[in-house]
Amino acid sequence: MQTMQIKDAMRYSVNKQAGKQTWGLLVIVISLLSVGLCSGCLYKGVRVAGIESHAKVFEGNKYRILGDAEGSSSSFNLLWLLPVTPRIDYDRAVGEAVNSLRGDNLINVRTWFERQIWIIGMVEILHVKGTVIQYER
């Protein structure tokens, strides 16, 4: 009889501990979510958009490498739906990267797309990174 009581008491203690751990886990999750949402950013994600050997048609075989550069193009949608800036543009992003080093073309092109959803709206950014070249004439 006494053994049964001890066993029952031990089981109760283990269950009580498990219950406490569960609540602790839930409190941590809710706290983390609250901190994230209070910052105003509801979502932030990046996805790979493409990979290319060159951005524009090659105009010559001889070229010199100027260096690595990155360009971007962004847009903002008020209340996630209403566009208030021009749409993201791949050519604009490539042009920005090429012009930053005053080159002619971009090779080894890597593209990725970033989306941030805030309380007041949504930001979309297209990033283009590559190596800027200049043709030898």
Binding site: L33, G36, G45, V46, V48, S53, H54, W112
Partner: protein, 133 residues
């Protein structure tokens, strides 16, 4: 007694949900002939198919920490068999959702090749390809 069992079941469910994958999706990203221009280079060695990947994690599937980097995935693929670049490249993205986090992985597949660094003007355009088995 019922209350105690309820707590235990809830706790086990949370642990199982943490460990077990909830869902996953694979989406294609791009297909390209090469990762770098090859028209002015001579391919001297083809090392065969390779695969590389790079992964990042999102908190609750909402806030991504870092970004999936395709350049690092290419470097990872080239590290396996060597080579200078990838040809016949395909790239896809895999997202897996767990209970509190999600995993975003970019995967690059292609054939690793080496270029001849000292190509003479006469040989340009001719591509002699050896295949390593």
């Amino acid at each position: 007694m019922i209350y105690r069992n309820k707590n235990r079941v809830l706790f086990l469910f949370l642990i199982a949900a943490l460990l077990l994958e909830h869902a996953c999706i694979t989406s294609p990203v791009a297909v390209t002939s090469s990762t770098t221009p090859v028209h002015d280079k001579k391919i001297i060695m083809n090392y065969g198919p390779v695969q590389g990947s790079h992964r990042v994690w999102s908190v609750f599937g909402l806030w991504m920490v870092g970004r999936p980097d395709i350049e690092l995935a290419i470097q990872d693929a080239l590290k396996k068999k060597g080579g200078d670049a990838l040809v016949n490249v395909s790239c896809y993205e895999k997202t897996s959702w767990f209970f509190f986090v999600s995993e975003n992985k970019v995967v690059v597949e292609g054939e690793a090749v080496s270029f001849d660094t000292g190509v003479s003007e006469k040989d340009k355009g001719k591509q002699t390809i050896k295949t390593k088995k």
